[in-house]
């Protein structure tokens, strides 16, 4: 995480052509004003000092404030954005796991028959379609084109907190969930199918057949159980990075004020403190996810032990 923070910092400040002071000062600022801004924000201090100062504000004093909306604290912004992203990702995760695993299992169980390439085709289609395009199309259909007739029940884009109204919360999130889940369901179905087909050629499956077990039991209890290991590690990483704000485009398209949207806006405005805060937040979850996956591995695969 340390390394990430340095990297972000350097990208922001050491990139030629980008002068945060000028941006903060505004378009019509004179050189003196820019100088003044530089001084006020400590932008004329040497790079390492500025880095330390920023980290100090962000983590210790927690009063790091935005460059653009002067006075707006970074940490509270992230705090309020986090639950939105969490809601989005959790719901989508449930959907994509169920659909992806079911798809993979059905395809593997019926390999060679028609339904197998059909599922794989949908999988590839889902992966190839960019999330923002899909989101926009969904919006187009539900909000404008068919809004009056088929989709009148779809609320306008935006977020309603769970505490306010669970029903509205779910309704607002329904299409974002489906859009985000589509891509991942496609990946998981394809990956799982490949893993299962491999597993079904393993010696231990041959033994299981020789034991007289049913194909279904072999598929679920033996092949799937062994293939889950790779799915779990994949899921851990995906989930971690999404919580950290990787669902950016989906949030933007559906107007959900999550961490992704926050980062997006901050990037457009070159608002370094917010970017730094959001990135650190995201990085933390990626690291956490990696650790959880490592631990999960030890539970799922008895050959791997933590020591």
């Amino acid at each position: 995480m340390f390394a990430i923070s340095i990297l972000v910092f350097l990208i922001f400040f050491a990139t030629p052509g980008v002068d945060p002071a000028a941006r903060i000062a505004g378009r019509s600022a004179t050189p003196q004003v820019v100088q003044q801004v530089k001084h006020e924000f400590g932008l004329d201090r040497p790079l390492p000092v500025r880095y330390v100062l920023m980290m100090d504000h962000l983590f210790i004093k927690q009063d790091l404030s935005s460059y653009i909306n002067i006075g707006d604290r970074v940490v509270p912004q992230i705090e309020s954005a986090a639950p939105v992203t969490l809601s989005l990702v959790l719901g989508a995760a449930v959907i994509w796991l169920v659909v992806g695993i079911a798809g993979g299992v059905i395809a593997a169980a019926n390999r060679g028959k028609f339904i197998d390439p059909l599922i794989m085709f949908f999988g590839i289609a889902a992966i190839s379609v960019p999330a923002y395009w899909l989101g926009q199309v969904v919006n187009l259909i539900t909000q404008s084109k068919l809004h009056a007739s088929l989709f009148s029940w779809v609320p306008p884009s935006g977020y309603v907190a769970l505490s306010a109204s669970p029903g509205e919360w779910a309704l607002h999130l329904l299409f974002p969930w489906l859009t985000l889940a589509a891509l991942y369901a496609g990946i998981y179905a394809r990956v799982l199918r490949a893993e299962l087909v491999n597993a079904l050629n393993e010696d231990y499956v041959r033994t299981a057949r020789a034991k007289g077990l049913s194909e279904r039991r072999i598929l679920i209890r033996h092949a799937l159980r062994c293939s889950l290991i790779s799915i779990v590690s994949l899921f851990g990483l995906d989930f971690g990075s999404l919580i950290g704000g990787a669902a950016l485009l989906t949030e933007v398209v559906f107007g959900l004020p999550g961490v992704g949207l926050l980062t997006y806006t901050a990037l457009q405005n070159l608002d370094l403190p917010v970017i730094m805060g959001a990135v650190m937040y995201g990085a933390f979850f990626v690291v956490l996810a990696n650790t959880v996956v490592d631990v999960a591995y030890a539970f799922l695969d008895p050959r791997v032990r933590l020591v």
Binding site: R206, A210, G212, L213, R225, R303
Partner: protein, 348 residues
């Protein structure tokens, strides 16, 4: 307490346990039709050990797998007749085959390191088989699993029953596999190269164990191997396979002491022996035939030093108790065999 496992039909002691007639297995591949097994017939009696010997490409493993319905891919065609306890099992629906597989017929494979599912404890895996073929409860099945582990010589079975496969060495794992295969008191055990992946000392332990268990369980064994020495130790009768076809069939002593097919005595001559040192090994020229290119006549003819024109016609197994698929006359076989064993083979 031994759970009752799935029963098969009438228990006639007169009919052989397993009767195979003209088994044919072919694969349709891009390169053409591969006849992996082409006309195999043999029988296995009660409490008998039948050795099936052959090199790679002989079809020895494929024949067994096909009999048990383990080859269900779309490009496989299996025909012929396989009667188990008088009942035709070739072509049975999978559901019925499943009750026989693991129940009346147990099977063990070559590589013990990969034969068990790595994520489940060994006791669980044995119990799974027991419960698939009987009404045993979890507790009963587990108890039986512990007994079985003890029978196959695993020390501290009550403790080790809850261990994972990777906690066992190769020889120990093979014992677990044997325990699992015997869990439902099968009448027939098919062992596909069970000791090839093991060291000689471990092999000796496993073979001894199998012999002992055969006595206890009254089961018959089909032992597939490429190792003539193992056959010599374990088998009552032997069938020698080449290119998917049977070359010779008979009592172990007869086949090994007085082989009648040039391939058999070539094979025996090629084995370097521990007991005696010869200056040169008898060799069979050429390489084992590719299954895509099996000749129309005798499959072994291209490599046989004694071929003559009759060999363009495909021979079938004939003879009394000791059969072989070779056109040479009986006297010729004896003379040529003796000649081959005393001379130094000069061609490679």
């Amino acid at each position: 307490m031994t759970p009752e496992c799935a029963l098969s039909e009438r228990d006639a002691t007169a009919t052989p346990l397993l009767q195979v007639e003209n088994l044919q297995v072919s694969f349709s591949t891009r390169g053409g039709v591969v006849r992996a097994v082409d006309g195999l017939s043999f029988s296995v009696g009660r409490k008998e050990v039948l050795g099936v010997v052959g090199e790679s490409g002989s079809g020895k493993s494929v024949s067994m797998y096909s009999m048990l319905g383990l080859l269900r891919e779309a490009n496989v065609t299996v025909s012929g007749s396989v009667k188990f306890e008088g009942r035709e099992i070739l072509g049975l629906a999978d559901r019925e085959m499943r009750s026989i597989r693991g129940g009346d017929i147990g099977m063990i494979f070559q590589d013990p390191m990969t034969a068990l599912t790595p994520v489940y404890r060994v006791g669980w895996q044995i119990a799974e088989q027991i419960r698939a073929h009987s009404d045993a409860t979890k507790a009963q099945a587990r108890q039986r699993a512990i007994e079985l582990l003890g029978e196959v010589g695993i020390p501290e079975p009550a403790r080790r029953v809850d261990q994972f496969p990777h906690e066992f060495s190769g020889g120990m794992r093979q014992r677990v596999v044997i325990a699992m295969a015997l869990s439902c008191n099968p009448k027939l055990l098919i062992a596909d190269e069970p000791t090839t992946a093991l060291d000689v000392t471990t092999q000796a332990q496993i073979l001894e164990l199998m012999g002992k268990l055969q006595e206890t369980y009254d089961s018959s064994i089909v032992l597939i191997t490429h190792d003539m020495g193992v056959i010599s130790e374990m088998a009552d009768r032997v069938v020698v396979m080449y290119a998917g076809r049977p070359a010779e069939l008979g009592d172990r002593r007869d086949v090994i002491r007085t082989p009648q097919h040039p391939y058999t005595w070539g094979l025996l001559g090629a084995v370097p022996r521990v007991e005696t040192k010869r200056s040169r090994l008898a060799t069979i020229p050429g390489t084992p035939v590719s299954p895509l290119n099996v000749p129309a006549g005798c499959a072994f003819a291209p490599r046989c030093a004694h071929r003559f024109d009759k060999c363009d016609e495909r021979p079938t197994l004939k003879g009394g108790g000791h059969q072989d698929a070779c056109w040479l006359s009986d006297e010729q076989k004896v003379t040529l065999r003796q000649r081959d064993s005393t001379s130094v083979s000069s061609h490679d």
